[in-house]
Symmetry: C2
Subunit: 216 residues, 2 copies
DNA sequence: CGCAGGTTTGAGCACCCTCAACGAATGTGG
DNA sequence: CCACATTCGTTGAGGGTGCTCAAACCTGCG
């Protein structure tokens, strides 16, 4: 199976790259571009000469294996900058999870002081990747889900009600689990009264301390 | 169990921070410092205001969980720069795997053009972390070990004989496996004639293509 | 109301971990 | 130089966590 064939097996994928790019004013523009749910922002193998900032909505960045396995390396929420991928070509796919607005940032190679702005952003990405690494390498299913809920809550201002823009499949592919395991862990957390599920993609953290203890 | 107690449970740890620092000329010096095998270079919680370059030897960077679990986030071999950890305090431990020479690089906050030098190094670290993430999230034991051997070979110039400075325990904690599983996979690779083991920490890649196919 | 996609729940199994014993290599002291 | 201790690595048996396969259940939407 080629990568492209495998690509089609992901059910919620619609387009390899977003058609909206065609109607974008001009590269380097600071105008936000609208990306419909499921549409691609960039693809593995494409040239990478820009950065992207989420204006509203959410983005998933992932790698696809030849046999269809998928690993999401990061979610990007409102305000966050992404698109760093060393070298000059992308090694990951980026897609809008839901209806999303993206602001493009040109990365002209040697603009004065550009590296000073980029370095902190790159370092935050590095720190996130390192934390994620620990989770994938040494935590069990319950710990992963608990850590994910805490992370999402904190990235949304620490509120007790967390709105998840992504599907269970996305969560599973982010945490290195299966959708069934994610669902089972959430059910068990609900049974224990640690969380409640007001809606499918809305989670209320009832006992944050218990969740914190699990995530460690 | 406190982190400090857990710290003691790691058998091959000798000192929290290397005594050699005391005898180092002055911070910011470009003189290499010798670190004996197993000695610490920096510790979780310490202030981080320097970068480090491996002159010879090898370094492991890891996080310790309260219950003793360990995840090595990266190995650093000769020539590589490490020590990036966002914020101002370290969130990981760094130790010499074997007798190692370290060159310290001062990171004065706003030296002109410093970010231009640092950004490529940070981006390489980010790329490595992202690749490692895929491995930990979606690959099975055999794939992880195969990928590790390929990675080590390529980082040592692509030679067929790979010298591993680290123990099986280190490999296991890097790959998110147990030492027994690592050992079993290596034995199976040897039985299949894909590798041979001239010495305990020396591995010869006999069928590189087969190894590549497994790692994918 | 019926369909489709997403989610939940269950039963069985596979892979990897745990526990344990053995073997090999290295260093130390007699 | 050898006996011994210690650490590291290998191999085996058994068990548990999470995956696979499958079916039922929502929920939004035409």
């Amino acid at each position: 199976m080629t990568l492209h064939e495998a690509f089609r097996t992901i059910p919620d994928h619609r387009q390899p790259t977003c058609a909206a790019w065609a109607s974008a004013p001009s590269p380097g523009s600071l105008q936000p571009v609208f990306i419909p749910a499921g549409a691609g922002i960039y693809a593995q193998g494409e040239k990478s000469d820009r950065l992207y900032q989420v204006e509203f909505g959410a983005v998933r960045v992932y790698r696809l294996f030849a046999d269809g396995r998928r690993q999401i390396s990061a979610f990007h929420l409102c305000g966050e900058v992404f698109g760093f991928e060393a070298h000059s070509t992308h090694h990951f796919f980026a897609e809008a999870i839901c209806a999303t607005g993206i602001r493009m940032l040109r990365t002209s190679p040697h603009r004065n002081g550009l590296a000073d702005e980029l370095l902190p952003v790159a370092l935050q990405g590095l720190a996130r990747a390192q934390e994620h690494l620990l989770l994938l390498g040494r935590q069990n299913a319950a710990e992963r889900v608990a850590a994910f809920l805490i992370e999402m809550s904190e990235r949304q201002g620490g509120l007790d009600t967390v709105e998840l823009p992504m599907s269970r499949t996305d969560i599973a592919d982010y945490l290195g689990l299966t959708i069934e395991t994610v669902s089972r862990v959430l059910s068990r957390l609900r049974q224990k009264g640690i969380i409640s599920l007001p809606a499918l993609r809305s989670i209320e953290i009832v006992k944050r301390s218990a969740l914190r203890d699990m995530a460690a």
